[in-house]
Amino acid sequence: MGEAKIRIKAGVQLREKELIKTAFAGGKNGEEALAALLQANYRIVLGYFLKLTQDPEAAKDLTQETMVRAIKNLRKYRGEGKFSSWLIAVGSNFYRDELRKKKTAEKIKDRYLSVLEKQPEAETVDIKRALLELPAEKRIPLILKYYYDYSYQEIAAALKIPLGTVRSRLHSAVRQLRERLTEEPAGTHRKTPGAKEEL
């Protein structure tokens, strides 16, 4: 990494720390700092939910709700990791909670079915289907591991689950993905999805 990049990164982290400090202080400045923090991290959270749901509308809704939940629980943020990592942890737990609620689970299931039906004949169609067919409990750690390079410990801390559970869920997710993708050649799977979200 170049020296300039390191300096920019350090500057961003410093600004983030200052914003968090101002947000904690409250008042009008606190509100503005919070808004700036949320805006700076919006795309990270949106991208995460986009990978989880593959549905831009659902991702937008989940991102907004995650931000509301994060503000309400801002006092729980201890400033140990990056603010975006904390937001992702809040979002993951919010997503799981939503799936546990019957009504929301049905809504997400409907969306899930429509997303699968709308899948075009693309190169990624099989991996998308395979990922969507993974239960959320396995999909979340897999996405955190592969796309965000989280360690087992970080996933366990974010999802508040034991380390062994993280390990078994990840291995099971990989096994399931491999079985699913090696079973059928690309683009031939047109079965009506029967897989349900494991709640």
Partner: protein
């Protein structure tokens, strides 16, 4: 002259040459987790191209989505803060009410015991409560703070 072997300095020399130092329990565990993570990544290797293609496609979709302006985020912050203030005020009101009720009940009880002529039990009870109350007042906020940090 032959250079002395560092391992044979003490009275109890270390393990014979060629043997590695034993790792601690925590070190072994960390090593095992690291090895497991490596195994997982190698199991993911055949899926790498598909996963990367999916990741790129998601990034393209993300690039097409606009970030709302600052007003939108300020609105979220204001709404959420107002909600959390309301949520905080409710337990505070209940707490204050509970305190008043408990204080009245306590003083009424003491008065009733004194009127009934039970001076000694009332004095003992009042003494115990007077001793315990500062302890509770001192430590309850600490416990609550600990719960919030979890």
């Amino acid at each position: 002259m032959r250079k002395p072997d560092k391992r044979q300095k003490g009275l109890f020399p270390g393990p014979a040459t060629g043997l590695k130092k034993q790792k601690s329990g925590l070190g072994r565990l960390k090593h095992a987790w690291a090895r497991d993570e490596e195994e997982l990544l190698s199991a993911l290797a055949p899926l790498k191209s598909s996963l990367d293609a999916f990741g790129e496609e998601t990034e393209e979709i993300l690039a097409g989505l606009a970030t709302p302006d600052t007003i939108y985020f300020a609105g979220i912050a204001r709404k959420a803060l107002a909600g959390s203030t309301r949520a905080r005020k409710k337990p505070a009101f209940i707490e204050a009410l509970a305190f008043i009720v408990a204080a009245i009940a306590f003083l009424t009880g003491v008065l009733w015991f004194l009127q009934a002529g039970y001076f000694l039990p009332a004095a003992i009870f009042y003494g115990i409560v007077a001793l315990l109350l500062p302890t509770v007042i001192l430590f309850v906020p600490e416990i609550q703070r600990g719960e919030v940090n979890e």
